[in-house]
């Protein structure tokens, strides 16, 4: 599903069907040890509403936010942003995981809201801030579109 760009704040959404029960998938969203098997190199994630977390997603790049909603094994919502990035500061965007059972399988719907719009990023920032904005989109499984940072040069 492409990222929605008509709104001022960008929304990215993506779904994937997993051949596992929601209970199994849920553990991979909230258990730090299982979380790190598919995302990040270090995390302080704790499955408790109000708990702050700090996840080193790629070396030197840290995502920071707070758990907002927890409804095992159906729904997980947390705020999300990059440490040291004024465009997507810690806690500035919202990530939501919904687990929808389909027989013995689980449809995972990932929604990332309140991302800075591509326009707002390009108005006042070039370079890495621009990249981190793109990252925020692809982090949610969205399509950030052509990279103006690269295409403008050529």
């Amino acid at each position: 599903m492409p990222a929605e760009t008509t709104t001022e704040r960008l929304l990215a959404q993506r779904e994937i069907l997993i051949d596992a029960r929601p209970e199994t998938v849920w553990e991979f969203l909230v258990d730090p040890e299982k979380l790190l098997r598919w995302k990040g190199v270090h995390t302080t994630f704790e499955a408790r509403v109000g708990a702050g977390y700090r996840t080193e997603v790629v070396p030197g790049n840290v995502a920071v936010g707070e758990v907002l909603e927890l409804d095992p094994p159906r729904r997980l919502v947390y705020s999300w942003g990059w440490e040291g990035n004024p465009d997507v500061p810690p806690g500035s965007t919202v990530v939501e995981y919904e687990l929808l059972p389909e027989g013995d399988r689980t449809r995972v719907r990932l929604t990332h809201r309140d991302l800075p719009s591509r326009e707002s990023l390009e108005r006042h920032a070039h370079g890495w801030e621009h990249y981190l904005g793109r990252l925020a989109v692809v982090a949610a499984g969205g399509d950030p579109g052509p990279d103006s940072f690269l295409t403008e040069r050529s």
Partner: protein
């Protein structure tokens, strides 16, 4: 790739990259944009250079710096792949776990 990731993790180095994206600048010109010492800027430039994100060119006694598009493109490819594959990675790990659990149930 880890060197490039660490290089762009520092806000001032990202600002330097932005400065030299379209213009080739000397260390002094770059330093004039920041409230930090010249040696600190040189240190940042060294990190960016070693990470392959910036090219250095000598012009007489001056050293000039410019962003290296190839380095940035490599970085972007790496990150796009990493993030794009994230949900697929979740699927792989959860299915492996489920298979293991179902195997134990039998």
């Amino acid at each position: 790739m880890e060197a490039a990731l660490k290089a762009i993790a520092e806000p001032r180095r990202r600002a330097i990259l932005r400065l030299v994206r379209d213009d080739e600048l000397s260390a002094g010109e770059i330093a004039s944009h920041f409230d930090v010492t010249r040696p600190a800027v040189s240190q940042h430039l060294t990190v960016l250079k070693e990470a392959g994100l910036v090219d250095e060119r000598r012009n007489g006694t001056r050293r000039l710096y410019r962003a290296r598009p190839d380095g940035l493109a490599e970085l972007r490819r790496f990150l796009d792949e990493l993030w794009g594959g994230q949900l697929e990675a979740l699927k792989r790990e959860a299915e492996r776990e489920e298979k293991h659990a179902r195997g134990n149930d039998d």
